[in-house]
Structures are given as structure tokens and as C-alpha cells.
Symmetry: C2
Amino acid sequence: MSDRAAKGSPTLEDVAREAGVSRATVSRVINGIRNVDPEIQQVVRQAIADTGYIPNRAARTLVTRRAGDVALVVSGAGEEGAGAGLPGDPFFGRIAGGVVGYLRPRGMYPVLMLADSDEARRQVVGHLRQGHADGALLVSTHAADPLPRQLAAAGLPAVLFARPARPAPVSFVDLAHQDGARLAADHLVARGCHRVGTVTGPLDVLASQDRLTGFRDAMARHGHPYVPAAEGNFTLDSGEAAMHRLLAEEPALDGVFVANDLMAQGALHALRETGRDVPGDVAVVGFDDSSAALACRPALTTVRQPIEEMAAEMTRLLLDLIETPGRRPTSVIFEPSLVVRQSA
Amino acid sequence: MSDRAAKGSPTLEDVAREAGVSRATVSRVINGIRNVDPEIQQVVRQAIADTGYIPNRAARTLVTRRAGDVALVVSGAGEEGAGAGLPGDPFFGRIAGGVVGYLRPRGMYPVLMLADSDEARRQVVGHLRQGHADGALLVSTHAADPLPRQLAAAGLPAVLFARPARPAPVSFVDLAHQDGARLAADHLVARGCHRVGTVTGPLDVLASQDRLTGFRDAMARHGHPYVPAAEGNFTLDSGEAAMHRLLAEEPALDGVFVANDLMAQGALHALRETGRDVPGDVAVVGFDDSSAALACRPALTTVRQPIEEMAAEMTRLLLDLIETPGRRPTSVIFEPSLVVRQSA
DNA sequence: AAGGAGCGGGAGAGCGCTTTCCGGTTGTGT
DNA sequence: ACACAACCGGAAAGCGCTCTCCCGCTCCTT
């Protein structure tokens, strides 16, 4: 122990010598591959403990060609467009939480990468190919993100959060946005709202489109063929502005579905400014069940996305893909649920 | 090209053959170490381009004993205590943003690790020692986090975000919390507030203590020997409750300093509920300049922490430490600034 | 009783890279 | 001119691990 303390951490070789067996045997014990005499196993384990041996990841990766962790790529964050992306986006934290929650019990960790420019995307692909990670979890904030294709072209396993705008043979998880919108519509109608509008997200985002069409379809089924809509871009300010526009078009509005909670918070401000009571005069339903929903007064009734579970599933799919490279792309769609609070 | 396409990605050997030089020379060109004849360099670069060579990270790590990335460890997130930790904490996103911003130009990425239990902490230390990362950036949400010491004991380079509760020979970055509190006090006094109180963060957190004492000291210098305080735990609800308590003690309050924006948002709710106008009746100053500050109506006047810069500096310190192992611990303290909006 | 299947263990060949050591060439000082 | 240094490129030794062979043993089969 004293002699090898000088030469850095112990290696397999050291353990083997200590246990009086070969490197191969120690490796087998560690990796639980093939049968090894229980007695020898015991000796080896003792030797491992005695030497304080810790396997060297790089050496293992070199021969197995497995890095043993995955990349969590946030694409298109800082570029022009909606939310601030990574910073301040509570979404990101929840996704990361779900990913880490699934990975950790398996002794893996995500490598965080941002791809907010073409240059950055190139770098990300390059690093993945260097073996930094075995695959990528991709969260695109942009509709036309080229990264999914680039990853596919490089033959790198990848799973997306949200269906890609341009169809591609890639696995993904997503939410049944239309069903969520329907939940909101049903709730507003059940409350007795007659003049209902909606504040949408940026319409170049699929999720926004789905929420809008889902909402309109559901309202149509309830006998409301026309639903006024104002487009926002998922930020609080844009929600406030959109709400004002909606009120200008339909001053007698008594119910509104807002495509995310942050904009709903802005809508609440607009409603208060114009002297309307929520939920007395106007009922408001948000989307996401983010922390913003609880920060609102009145607290927001909202459509919940099970982000953490979705992130965990996304991770599961990726590990599957890494495990079985030939596997065909899969998609898993989650069902949203309505969380009723004070605003509607 | 055709023959080696079959056997996976090209290696140094392939490039060397293509360029008609030895592996060593190619390696030297790639790493820019020692002088290599410019002409040969050109040939090698061409060969690299032709073969589409990408260096294998594991092999490089194995011999250089450098992983080439760092861990971003969030410690004590899910455990009992204040904020939800990672999920939903906008802080985390901003820190991550600052870290990635500094790392990316250097071709590095952070590995995200959560340490929310003793078991998890053990795992984190283990993985770092396996060579997963060369050092750790540690964000502790808990006062008495054992991780800094464990890392130090394992001889792993580490830099903390925020001064550790128990003094330790570790580098860290922090904010001059007292100065921030003074900024708030000066502003409130300048506005003509006479009856001023404060909502503090959890007092087992150093930052909370500093903000409180800083605020009290500054108010004392302005001739206000006593400042009523109510303790919150950095959540919106706790801020609202604390504000109510403060109002009970001092109904004629005309100014309040709240130790973070989220609680300030709650305080705003309490003030509105009790029929007080902000800033007319009561001026409110928050802390952090987080996204919550902008979500408030009126928008929050707040003390800004340059989180991104702090995170970048933290990263710089860590890379320094990795570069020069013997280096002594350093600390860098950032100065806050006041962002004046509508609430005060 | 003899042949073969099955199993547990060791030897050793790499995985792809960096880096020391060496030899040959060219430049420099006296 | 000659010794010496500086410089550049190649050969080769690993870094620590996995995994394929291979060998010797036991045990079952016929």
C-alpha cells in the first residue's frame, strides 16, 4: 500500500497482485461477467477494498467504446426567438431533473451542451463523435433545428424532447397538446363561459399550433365555431400584450385559454389593469403547471405537462437505443392533466 | 478511405499513413506541441481533413490523465430545506449558463451531477475520482454541506459558489451581500422611507445573515437603530407570510427590503391583499434581479447579482486550479448593483 | 474406462493516443 | 574548420482496461 501510494491510484494490476490472481479475473469479478469461484471472488473484493481501487474510466471506455454517459443538448437557446432559453427557463431545470433522476441510479451523468449557433452545433456533433457521450438528449427551442438531422447523419443515437418540425426518423417524447387544450376548453365550457378566446404561443412552434387547433376543435364541438386568438411568444410581456389585443377584439370575453403559464401571468396583469376580476369576470386557464402558475394571484388553473416523467422516458429511450443500436425510432406521447386552482 | 470506412472512424495511424509521416508527427501537429515543418503541417492537416479524423477522447485521457471537462455539482437540492433546488430554480439555469459560456470556447462541457443525499455525494466523489471530470464546481443549497470537505479530502480541485458555512481551504466566488443590502437601505432612505422593515432569508444561510446585518448596519448609519425583520425561506409563500407578520408588528411600514425576488413577489401579494399601494404606501426592494422581478406588478426594484459573471469566474478559477494543482485557494467577491424599477 | 463437453482461470493482444528517447540534419560560435 | 547545440521526425513504450484464446481440470456420457 505504501509503495503504490507514491505512484498514483492503484490499477487492476495492483489488485490482481494483491489478490494473487490475474488481471482478467479481477476484471471479471468487477464486471460480473462469467462465473468466478465464489471464494476467489471474495478474495478479489477484499483486495479491491484494501487497495482502494477505482476503475479508470478512460481505459475502460477506450476498449469498450462506451463513454457511459449521455449529452443533454439544449439547442437554439440564445438565438432570436422565444424564451431566454437556458437561463431562467424553469423548463430546463425540470427536464434536467428528470434526466438526472433516471440516469443516476445507473451511475451515469448528463453532459450539458448548448447549441445556440451553427458553430456551436458543429462543435456539439464533433464532441459527441469524439466519444464524449454515447448519445444525445435533444431539447430544441427552435422549430427548424437542423441538429436532429445532423445527429442522425453522424449516426449518433438521439432522442428529442418534442416532435421535430420536419419529420425525421428520430425517437422522441411529446405531450398530447391537443388533448391538453381540450381539457382547458371543456373546463371553461363547464364553468359556463360563453365568450372564449385564446392566447397562443408562437405559431411556428408545433406545440403552439397543436394547442390552438386542439382548443378550437374542442370549442367547436361545444358549439363555438369561432374562437378569437392572439399570438404571443411564450414570454410574460407578450402574454400581456396579446391579452390586450384579445380584449380589444372581444371586450365581453369571459374565458381565456393561454398557451403557457408565463403568458397567462401576463394576461392576468392585463385583465387586472382593465379592471376585470379573475375568475369572476374572466376565467383563465394556463398551460405547463410551471412555478409561474403558483406565483399568480389568483393561482392559475392550468394544464399540467409531466415534464419530469417525459424527461425520464426520453432518457430511457436513449439508453435503449445505445444498448441496441439497430433499434427503430420510437415515440412516446404523454397525456396532460388539468390542475384546477383559483383562476378558472 | 473506402477500406477504413469499414473499420469505424479513422485513427491517428490512418492519418499518419495518409500523410506519409509518423503518428507522433500527426499528434504534434494536432496538439501544436513542438515545432513541425510548416510544409509537413500542411500535409498533415490535409490528411486529417481527407480522412475526417476525429481524435479519440478516451485514448487521450488515458495517457494525459485529463478528462477535459468539469463537473457541475448541485448539492443538497432535494433535501429538506428551502427552494425546490434544481427544478424550477432559475438560479441554476443562470449559473449553468455562465459556466457553459466560459467553458464552451475552450471546448469543454460540464457534467451535471446532483448530490441530494449522502449516498449521492459518495457517488459523486467516486465518479470524480474515476476521472469523469477534472474538478468540480459546487453549488450548495445547504449551509452545512459536507461535500466541500469530501472533495478536498479526495484531493479533487473544486470551487464553490458562495462562501462555505464552515471555513475550509477551498476557492470560492461570492457576492458582497452586505453591500447589496446597503444599496437597498440607501435607496429606501433616499426615497424618504421612515418606517422600514425587512424580510430575511433562512438565517442558517450565510447570505441571508449577511443581507440582514448589512441592511441593519446601513439603516443604523441612517439613524434607524431598530429594523423589524421577519424570516422567510426564499419561497414565494414564505415571503407572503413573512410580510404579513411584518405588517402586524409595524402597520405603518413604508418601506421593506426583501432578501430575494421570489419572496418579494409574495410580499407584494400580501401588501395588495391588505390594501396597500406599492410604491405609493410601501416601497419594496428585492434581491437577485431574477426573472421574478420582471414578473411582478409593479416591476421590482432589486439588487442585482451578476450570477453569470460569477459562474464564469468560478469556472475560470477551477480551470486555473486544474492547470496548476499546487495553487492556493482564492476567493473572488463580486459587487452587486441596484436595478431601479417601479416598486421603489 | 475412454472420449468429450463444460467450466474456471491465465496469458496476452490490443483499444488510440502521448511522449520520451534517439538519430540525423542544419545552424552557430570561436 | 570543428565541436557543439538546436531542431525536427520516427520508433516504440506504455496509459489501464477488456476480452479472445487457450489450457487444464472435473464430470458426465456411452
